[in-house]
């Protein structure tokens, strides 16, 4: 795919030598879903992100690449490390991480190292390690980096973090599309979706939008009740418990008498 793009790009460059100007290209984007409703039988969702590159002038030179990121709401977390003390394994050291998105996916049209420069990555915080921010590790911990690595490792194993190099399909230097899998265990909130257009490892255009992830229906009702009317919610839970217990008991007595 990349080979084809490169060849196409070369062809275009040979035919039309165009001057490269700032904002010569713009991103026009579409989403298969603007919002995601978490219902009782929510099993995760595949979200299709597609779009086109709008140009006023002719196609500029340089390799074209597209990176798409989707980030869930950030919450501060603490990463703990276990150590053996007096024969048992206990959490001994903890490193606070100020900002760790509950979900983070990067899809790119090629390997990140080859299509994105280090400075641009730092500026826009695109790659997974840069999406989390760990500052203020206690001075007693020398290897704070291993804590952030562990955070990424654990979240990647649980499919909350992912990097799909070659996940974006670019056609004719104009159209692009990618599909990002949102797992079932989604946290509610605004999912910031960013699209970067790159030429020669430099970001030339970007587009930001949000996908709204919300609980609906029964999920919404119970969540609101639990937080807004905790006493009623608690009594409701207890009533259900007692009713369930009684119903099963009564049911079994009838069945047993007849049986």
């Amino acid at each position: 795919m990349t080979g084809l793009i490169t060849r196409l790009a070369l062809l275009v460059i040979l035919l039309i030598p165009a001057a490269r100007t700032a904002l010569a290209e713009e991103i026009v984007m579409g989403l298969s879903q603007r919002s995601i409703a978490i219902t009782t039988n929510f099993e995760g969702s595949d979200i299709l992100i597609f779009g086109a590159i709008k140009r006023e002038a002719s196609v500029p030179e340089g390799d074209l690449d597209v990176i798409v990121t989707v980030a869930g709401p950030s919450r501060p977390v603490t990463v703990w490390r276990k150590e053996r003390r007096m024969g048992i394994w206990i959490n001994t050291e903890g490193v606070p991480v100020d900002r760790a998105p509950s979900f983070y996916a990067v899809a790119a049209s090629g390997p990140l190292a080859e299509i994105l420069s280090q400075t641009e990555d730092l500026r826009h915080r695109i790659s997974v390690p840069l999406a989390i921010r760990a500052v203020g590790a206690p001075a007693t911990i020398a290897d704070a980096q291993r804590f952030s690595d562990a955070l990424i490792r654990i979240r990647t194993e649980d499919a909350f973090y992912s990097a799909l190099e070659d996940g974006v399909d670019v056609q004719e230097e104009t159209l692009f599309r990618t599909s990002i899998r949102l797992p079932a265990n989604l946290t509610e909130g605004d999912y910031s979706t960013r699209i970067f257009l790159l030429r020669d490892k430099q970001v030339v255009a970007q587009y930001v939008t949000t996908i709204d992830v919300r609980k609906v229906g029964l999920e919404r009702f119970l969540y609101n009740l639990a937080h807004g009317q905790p006493v009623i919610y608690g009594l409701l839970s207890l009533a259900l418990a007692v009713l369930g217990g009684w119903a099963a008991s009564a049911f079994f007595r009838i069945v047993l008498r007849q049986g």
Binding site: I154, A241, A248
Partner: protein, 311 residues
Amino acid sequence: MQIYLPIAEVSVNAYLLLGLGGIVGVLSGLFGVGGGFLMTPLLFFIGIPPAVAVATGTNQIVASSFSGVLAHLRRKTVDLRMGVVLLAGGMVGAGIGIIVFNYLKSLGQVDLLVTLFYVVFLGIIGALMFVESLTAIRRARKARRAGGTGIAAKRRQRNWVHVLPFKMRFRTSGLYISVVPPVLIGVSVGILTAIMGVGGGFIMVPAMIYLLGMPTKVVIGTSLFQIIFVTAFTTMLHAVTNQTVDVVLAVLLLLGGVIGAQFGARIGVKLKAEQLRILLAVLVLAVCFKLALDLLLMPSELYSITAAGDM
């Protein structure tokens, strides 16, 4: 069938939850334990956040205990008077327990302490019950071989429990003892309920048998009776202070649980008291062993993530 839990914010298999509730329910009806000491670790294992697992577990215990106690009430194997005395102690204990729990939380090692509590208590009680039941079974066998009727010798020795003041008659249990030991048992179980997030039946049942000398059949119904109220109180506390009771999770667990409890109560009638005790002892020891292994063996992942401020 996957189902999304609104408070826990995770998606889990509904049948798995029903099955889990069912197994714990059978144990609840069989042994008179709420099953929390099994349910809570099992919920952690399938990925429910610990805070939600503990709070929802208590709500589920209310259901299975209520179902179990109805079966026992019909068979008149609940000592209501003893239950109320234990309950009075239990409420005081739960209050103390919550204060202790919050203190441990401020120290930052609450998980470890809870696990250690489990290992120590389950280990001691499991071992004691196992040895005692084995001796009882052996004694019964010997009596039978010697041409006896097969009924184990009645254990009704007098100990320190019988010399304390404030004596009260517990007709259902056939006891005339001081209220001080039952109240103290209630208090200590209440403390453990709040700290370990369990009903406390696995501690109360042996305490009632070995310390108070109550008949095994009455012990189970009575402990269930006490557990209902203490866990209901705990559920309310969690719902109001932390909003961690997941009603969808609770309903699924209790559907399995109440059915299981009915089966358990019926199986329990067919088993001999000694067999019942030895089964419970094995179960308690198994859970203790598993938890101890987790502490002793090197974990495959040394790192763990918690929400900031938790732990």
